[in-house]
Symmetry: C2
């Protein structure tokens, strides 16, 4: 992509309204724009990251056997009256009346709707286990939305829902998503720690949230040092091996880990001092096991092997992709801007032409651009006629993993500079070797 054709409205000033670093950087890098309180547009650079985050989430959901669907954003209040949550949910629910005076709402979550899909089409235990997920916009009318897309009112959520014949199978479904989440966060380039959690308005008796460690995180967390070295299951993990999954979950839930609200100082302080980590974290995923909380009132039953109807056991599993974009920045940035993990970077390489119009620079850049593109690399080519200082600052700000810097002297003598954004390391490399080095 040529920068001259890419809509990248970089802000020179730091926006006053942004209280935290990810919000500031996303605004400055032209990734988002605020449209109303707690409501943001994703501009092209932000959209590319959001898409990459969603693609990884989707791949890992599919790998774990979940089926992707897409439910509407607007729901009928009647469904929520069946579960009893229409009155319980409070003011965070955006309630709407349609032209015929029917009560509707913008879905803050989808337990009722997916239970309705289930009960209308599944009759027998033979069709289980089943896990349905979607990636769809949600709305929660927070009193005071803040922190940009980290806590917005309208946000994207991946929510999965599992259906099983009994407690044991549904615990395996829970473990399956637990493991899929570990894999997802690792692939997103962040360290996420599972912690026991309250179940809040979703309900149920078993719940974990996943928190990314980031010094600017919203809540304090306390954990055993073992988590930092713990191994995430590989691509070959067998999602049908209930015992194997349970073992992974046990490993990842045995050492101490807790958010402020669930913290037991006594237990934590009993750990050897060298093992205690007090840090800050950002919630990026939350999983719930709630058994028959929705299936009983909504009459979502299946016929078991014994011929008897039994309410289905359920869990739900959420990740916020739009929130994750910000959380990744909180965990990975420096003074100059964002440092994207390779897996979610909006482009792989930033190519800087220091002097557009200079024949050597133009020729070298065009060759590198064509070569990298042919090698499957996504390149943002800064072909614009702006000051060198501004070019460097912009490229650092938007945080692409690698930069290629082509100046007139180097281009003449057959050289360009490679810069690693994370380490800052710069290397002079012959022009002919650039493509090979970056595609290796």
């Amino acid at each position: 992509m040529r920068m001259s054709r890419f809509f990248l409205p970089i802000l020179k000033e730091t926006p006053k309204e942004a209280e935290i670093v990810s919000h500031r950087l996303m605004l400055r890098a032209g990734m988002i724009r605020q449209q109303a309180a707690g409501s943001y547009s994703f501009l092209p650079l932000g959209k590319r990251v959001l898409d990459k985050v969603c693609a990884i989430i989707r791949e890992e959901q599919n790998r774990a056997g979940a089926n992707e669907i897409l439910m509407p954003t607007i729901q009928s209040a009647d469904l929520w009256r069946e579960s009893g949550r229409y009155d319980d949910y409070g003011k965070e629910m955006l309630r709407i009346e349609d032209r015929h005076g029917r009560d509707m709402l913008f879905g803050p979550t989808n337990e009722e709707m997916v239970t309705d899909i289930f009960r209308s089409s599944v009759r027998s235990y033979k069709d289980l286990p089943l896990n349905l997920y979607h990636i769809q916009w949600k709305f929660r009318d927070e009193v005071r939305p803040r922190f940009g897309v980290l806590r917005s009112r309208e946000f994207l959520m991946k929510d999965a829902y599992s259906f099983d014949i009994d407690y044991e199978s549904s615990k395996t479904a829970y473990d399956r998503m637990f493991v899929a989440y570990l894999r997802t966060f690792q692939r997103l380039g962040v360290k996420a720690i599972p912690m026991r959690a309250d179940t809040g308005p979703i309900g149920g008796e078993l719940s974990h949230e996943f928190l990314i460690l980031a010094s600017t995180g919203e809540s304090g967390v306390f954990l055993h040092r073992d988590y930092l070295e713990m191994e995430t299951p590989g691509e070959g993990v067998d999602f049908n091996d209930a015992a194997g999954l349970a073992k992974v979950v046990e490993t990842w839930t045995t050492p101490y880990a807790a958010t402020e609200d669930m913290h037991e100082a006594g237990t934590f302080d009993a750990l050897p001092e060298a093992d205690r980590i007090a840090a800050r974290g950002i919630e990026v995923g939350h999983i719930f096991h709630f058994g028959t909380k929705y299936s009983e009132p909504m009459n979502a039953v299946v016929t078991g092997p014994d011929g008897k109807d039994t309410p289905v056991f359920m869990g739900s599993y959420g990740i916020g992709p739009s929130r994750l974009v910000a959380a990744i920045i909180e965990a990975s940035h420096d003074e100059a801007g964002i440092i994207w993990p390779k897996s979610v970077a909006p482009f792989d390489v930033g190519l800087i032409n220091m002097k557009p119009g200079d024949a050597d620079c133009d020729a070298a850049c065009e060759a590198i651009y064509a070569g990298l593109t042919a090698a499957g690399q996504d390149v943002l080519y800064d072909d614009e006629d702006t000051r060198a200082g501004a070019k460097f600052a912009t490229m650092d700000l938007i945080g692409l993993p690698m930069q290629v810097i082509v100046g007139p002297r180097g281009a003449k003598s057959g050289e360009a500079e490679l810069k690693n954004r994370a380490t800052g390391e710069r290397t002079a490399v012959p022009l002919a070797e650039i493509v090979g080095r970056l595609s290796a």
Copy 2:
């Protein structure tokens, strides 16, 4: 994908509420489920088609130089007050009040919001031309939603918005999208004819809608036979060649073509009888040129080469991907079910194991499944223990382009049957040749 792990709730009965064939077939094939009046979930089979439709639309928008963004669904009423449309829009707009009593709305379209993005970040004619698009859910509160996803209240829309310095450039932007639309519909496997259209609540003086010809279409259309043989620009079309684009548009708008409301019987009847086609069509795209209708009241100006501020010239360009899924079915089905064009088929191949549990059948199917998957084909493998008749009916109903049928006798003697869904042609093929035949 193994059918035993794929959520495919096929209906045996034809649902009574469905008045048109695409609605019936989408319900029967387990592609969608109604959640409220005019509101549908896309189930896995439907979601796969929707994704393919969106991917093609996206590719052609990007090829034409448009930048993808993502605006929120909920908008502030204040923006719409600036353009004057808040009061004009009528009851189709879903109006919402948030917890603080602020007037919001579920966007039926995004001219105001995108104009706001533009005015906040673009200052100079040097940053033009610009085209921003997104694919996002819209809501229009129709009095009587019907016909399934063909006319639902909540629907997916790709809407693009062009910004140019003067009328001439903005006409080129219009032509660019016109040509991108021709390419998009051709790739989707449908014949779409551009026709002059009213501009309705969007406004402006130049507008075309694109209609798919389908015998079950909602409106009558009248066109010159020439359209049926007209050539669509190829992948190499130059979107920077204003004259070339204008020529394509001229070719595609010169022969007679009109919907009922714009029909001039006199002009049409003057054509030679052999050239007159009276048919039915379904609107699947609509493009508008409206100049400064929004930029003037909203003060979206750029500095021109002369240093003076001038309101930007705009157009907007819509395609409904969710509606298209239904429209494609209207244009491509038979008594037995859907016949997907290859480019949007939810899977490339349906593999039927006639007797799961039979060692020869299982071995042959597993080998074909693995071979096709390795060759990059998307296969739906019917590995379920159901009656042969039901298997055939389901596979025809869901309309995958090719079927592979493996029965016990064939499997033993080393043969399977290939069936072309569109033609019904069946061919016996040695097992060893199946993968090669289907991947060619």
